[in-house]
């Protein structure tokens, strides 16, 4: 057997390692009990070197997890030392600061042994449906209110599973079958990665992953640096504000917007990202741990440089990320962090904005889908009298780019899918959806417009078959005070709205819903790109015809003159009008 790793074998091994994480993900998805894994794909499966460097990650699923996973592994190695890690050990934690930023994410990991020697690790992180605590609210005052905390510990040692620990977790969560079932599915995924990796070594006559790891990591590093080199050097900055209200000593609500600030320094083949100037953590559960900030900062750079680069330790070597300790993007224990996405999901947009002038052809405008909108409902199904737990995810529109409109209702920057409304109605026998449709004029105008947001409305059934008990409801997502920004001359998208029985409400606080109550949410569209006066008139006409923009919007934003008689665009008059408008 030849041991030299030539450019053929290296690529084969690389593909195979990524394939192993994808195969493990298939196992996880098929055996999972929660819609969050099955449909929303909110998980990650990864392979690490024995030194704790990320080597391969599954291609599907949501970004924002692998940085935390690296930290879990390194912390485990530190805690137990390499000598203290045995075959068939499984370690576990959901510590937000060690792992991925809130308690719902449980990370499991285990060593790979080959011929009696430790050669690497497999990790699996899943966003679990429930983790106990106050469920869906940003009102928790510390992480203690947000659910059960699992310290970094061994769930299994030498193959012996701590049933007590599983019972402990099971007793502290709603829907324990689902949560424990998914933890077991994660163990299967890790096991599958271990078996396949060992098979790979045996097939290629290798003793360990060292030589292939070096190749993968150094080549990825080099590739990322090549892309960074193409960007013009400079320090690029941006800031944005996120709505936030604080309660004063007098008990009054006071607007205290949170400032997010970034400086992106491109220097040769490195990019340094620094969030200096960002506001301090807040009382609400929207604080972000460093790992989460780090991941979404890297994610943004990958989107802008080489979207097809595989995710591993080499990809990110050239991108140091700094967030001052004690700012809202690097909060300390025991800050409440449940809805970290409310802030963390804006990180890519902030970075895109900073780099808009440096690489205008790569960036997109702000997206109405950031931060992700989730409605969580828990109650009793009236027929079987069993508890239900609904995790209803939906999205606003994507921001426009230099050559394309934004896609309507598309997840960004996380990547999760919606659920069938018929299935939710069937499983709850209590909820009825009134509407799920695109909202007219919800996108920012531009040469390319943003994707449209939607209106999603549901009620609690109130006829004789309906539940008599209130349903606990919580939501996160939405930008209610600050509009989703357009970019490079594109216009902003209008603000998000949410109503309970026609009255203005906001996400973040949980509430009880009673039969007959109606919740109506309007996630925003995406921001526009470039001046709307340059938009192709045929595209304006198509949007008009489809009822996606109003005549007023056509007139006010796009400078379009509509012939009163035919109801169609008067192309000549419009052209003149646009000329006048663009001069003023």
């Amino acid at each position: 057997m030849r041991k030299k790793l030539d450019p053929v074998i290296t690529q084969i091994l690389w593909n195979r390692l990524v394939g192993i994480t994808d195969e493990a993900s298939a196992t996880l998805t098929r055996t999972s009990f929660s819609s969050i894994v099955r449909d929303a794909h909110d998980y990650a499966n990864t392979i690490f070197t024995q030194q704790g460097d990320l080597l391969a990650a599954n291609t599907r699923g949501t970004p924002g997890l692998s940085g935390g996973m690296t930290n879990v592994l390194r912390s485990a190695i530190k805690k137990y030392s390499i000598e203290g890690i045995y075959p068939d050990d499984i370690f576990i934690t959901n510590d937000p600061w060690i792992a991925t930023g809130h308690l719902n994410d449980i990370t499991l990991g285990g060593p790979f042994f080959y011929n009696g020697k430790l050669i690497g690790f497999g990790l699996s992180t899943v966003h679990h449906m429930d983790i106990g605590g106050r469920m869906a609210t940003t009102e928790s005052r510390s992480v203690y209110e947000e659910g059960i905390q699992i310290p970094l510990c061994k769930l299994a040692e030498k193959g012996v599973i701590s049933e007590m620990l599983l019972q402990m977790i099971g007793s502290n969560v709603r829907g324990s079958n689902m949560v424990i079932g998914d933890i077991r599915a994660q163990m299967s995924a890790i096991n599958s990665m271990a078996i396949r990796t060992c098979e790979l070594l045996s097939e290629y006559g290798l003793n360990d992953l060292d030589s292939v790891s070096r190749e993968i990591i150094s080549r990825s590093d080099k590739e990322m640096r090549n892309h960074i080199k193409e960007m013009p050097d400079g320090i690029y900055t941006a800031e944005m504000y996120v709505e936030h209200k604080e309660i004063t000593k007098e008990g009054k609500e006071e607007d205290k917007p949170i400032k997010l600030q970034v400086a992106v320094e491109v220097k040769g083949d490195e990019i340094e990202i620094d969030f200096e100037g960002t506001s301090a953590p807040v009382a609400k559960a929207i604080n972000v741990v460093y790992n989460f900030t780090y991941n979404y900062a890297l994610f943004a750079i990958i989107c802008l440089t080489c979207p097809d680069i595989p995710n591993n330790a080499g990809t990110v070597m050239s991108i140091p990320v700094k967030a001052p300790k004690g700012c809202i993007l690097n909060c300390d224990f025991p800050a409440p962090v449940w809805s970290r996405t409310a802030i963390g999901h804006l990180v890519p947009e902030l970075i895109f904005r900073a780099l808009a002038n440096a690489i205008p052809e790569r960036v997109i405008a702000g997206s109405g889908s950031s931060p992700v909108w989730v409605e969580i409902m828990s109650g009793e199904e009236p027929k079987a009298r069993k508890q239900f737990l609904v995790y209803h995810i939906f999205q606003g529109g994507l921001g426009a780019g230099a050559t394309n409109d934004g896609q309507s209702c598309l997840s960004f920057p996380c990547n999760v899918s919606n659920d069938s409304m018929e299935v939710i109605e069937k499983d709850t026998s209590s909820i009825i959806f009134n509407k799920k449709e695109l909202t007219c004029d919800s996108a920012g105008a531009g040469k390319y417009r943003g994707g449209f947001g939607q209106e999603i409305s549901f009620s609690i059934m109130s006829d004789e078959y309906a539940t008599k008990k209130p349903i606990l409801f919580g939501a996160r997502g939405g930008r209610f005070d600050f509009r989703v920004p357009g970019i490079l001359g594109g216009l902003d998208a209008p603000k998000a709205r949410m109503y309970l029985n026609g009255k203005n409400r906001r996400t973040g606080t949980d509430m009880l819903l009673y039969p007959g109550d109606t919740v109506d949410a309007f996630p925003q569209g995406g921001g526009g790109y470039g001046s709307p006066l340059e938009r192709d008139l045929e595209l304006v006409e198509t949007d008009l015809r489809n009822g996606l923009i109003s005549k007023d919007a056509a007139k006010n934003f796009y400078g379009v003159i509509i012939d009163e008689v035919s109801g169609k665009i008067d192309f000549n008059a419009t052209k003149k009008n646009r000329e006048i408008l663009s001069k003023s």
């Binding site: 690529q11 794909h41 009825i432």
Partner: protein, 701 residues
Amino acid sequence: MENKYSIGCDIGGTFTDFVLLDLKTNERYIKKHLTTYPDPSEGVIEGIEELFKDHPSFLKETHSFLHGTTLIINAIIERKGAKVGLITTEGFRDLTEIWREIRYDKHDIHAKFPAPLVPRYLRREVSERIYADGRVLKELDLEETKRIIKELEGEQVESIAVSLMHSYKNPIHENAIKKIILDDFPHLSYSISSEILPEIREFERTITTIANAYVKQLVERYVDAILSDLERLGFEKKMYLMLSSGGLTPAETAKEFPVRLIESGPVSGLIAANYCVNLAGNKADNIISFDMGGTTAKSAIITKGKISMTREYEVAREARFKKGSGIPLKISAVDMIEIGAGGGSIGMVNKYGLLQVGPESAGASPGPACYHRGGVNPTVTDADLVLGYLDPEFFLGGSMKLDLDDAIFAIEEKIGKPLDLTLIEAAWGIHNMVNENMAAALKIFCGEKGEDPSMYSIVAFGGAGPLHSYGLAKKVKSAKIVIPLGAGTFSALGFFIAPITFEVFSTTYGATMQEANFDHIETIYREMEEKAAGYLSGEDRDTLQFSRSADLRYVGQDYEINIPIPSSNFSGLTKEELTELYSKVYRTTYGREYSDLQIEFVEFRVTAKISQPALQLEATSRGSTSESSALKKSRKAYSSVTQDYEDFKVYDRYLISPGMTIKGPAIVEEKESTIVVDLDSFASVDEYENVVINLNTKGDR
């Protein structure tokens, strides 16, 4: 009139193939006709007329006309279907533009999605609402419905798709809309979701119904044109079309459910593969079909004679090999993967400084460098030539000369020099890499189903399949390869084997195992059987058979497992029996079971089947010949075992005979394909002239 013949006709992108099967002698007559555009039915009729000249009696003596076509898939890809209007429940007209809200490529922020088949201004809402248990919360407004259809008619809509919330549970409002169309708008084509896909999940049901409406008139016109021309020629028997699920369906039914025919081409080859292996007395074999052509390789798995099916089929992808970038239809289809790996796949140095092969293909034009048609990029075929697997003088039976120097030059310039590899290392790298790509995809594909490819035999066909099957089999640790005779016409055999089928689904009753009323389930099955039989009413019912199955899952899980129901009387089954059946399959698939969890019924299925007077291939009557008479010569080719060139004996595929054993290293050449057997393995020839390679499965690199 005697039923002497059956005709199979398969329309491909370039050729329309005809196979006339003599049911008495099993002789096959082959005819190829160029596919005609824009109306492929013209080529069908022209081809038949030509066949008629050669066999004047056949039209009168033909039992059936069996047909597979890419018409439907092409209409959707090229957006050449009807102008469709959608009628849906108030509040839900945008589902097919909102999609699943997930990105198919995590990092590509500019990725495109397919435009909806029905633009928003043609998607209309009616006031009505039915709840999940089927009760009517709001009556349908009939007057409003009429007005809306009239408006759509005013927009020149030709075909109407109707999909209302929970119609799978209670179709009363959809039926009322159908009645309005039939009574007041008889010229409009219509597709009703509770007939097309009576299943929960509003997005999938609606988009599948729309796709049906989109191609319905096209298929009607097409089938009618062929039928009337056939009639004109004197053909009096029935026409059947191949379904994506691998069954045949009468033309009348096909016109009603065209979306079920979306991909009928590749299925035929798979059925033929299954048949060939079973013929040769390997009934217990699990099979991976491996069809590798110029641009892609397609694979499907057959476990204990059962073809692996899927209910999810994606069509018209924006990015060909990216899952999630197409229109997701919910239809029964053979579960097949397509990998960007073929003879024309290009080898290149990627941005990481490593070798990459595919998915880009040189196609037929300019083609591989060795075609000498201006192609400068090294391809898999170029590598196979340099490695000695292909004979430059005997490509396509010698009808096309390959240029070895061009192949060498392309590989050295584009791969060897930049990567500092010798010619052999580079050529072997390309060959090995394309095998690896296919093996990796196949492993994930099998893994998703809980299957292990090493437990499977590979049936290889297509131009490049037999050559690459050895390398693929080694990588997935498969012990046996079966290569049928005549790869070129092999696929069409499937037409004569597929049964006539119709499938019916029902999700109207859902219950846990504990609470399920088995008598009620029996009633559901009976109704479904009646319905299914209705769609096959014009057929010879002597061999009509029903197979029942049910989709079950653990409460809380979302993936159902399809369990064949072993009895025609559900009431006679016990809950324990069914629980055990389910647990057994679950265990095999996922390696464990949950005895503490409830099992629930999600869906019931019935397939009505009528067997054809099937093709009866018989063992060859050719006596055995000596090995030496089939031996053409020997030539140097690369052995992956010794990692050097060795002398490979070269055999003539047409002269080898049953009982013969060929010891590797050897090459067996037929006109359209080449078989490679390395020195650690041997091949034998069975009585149906399949070449069977037995591999040494210990280790590979």
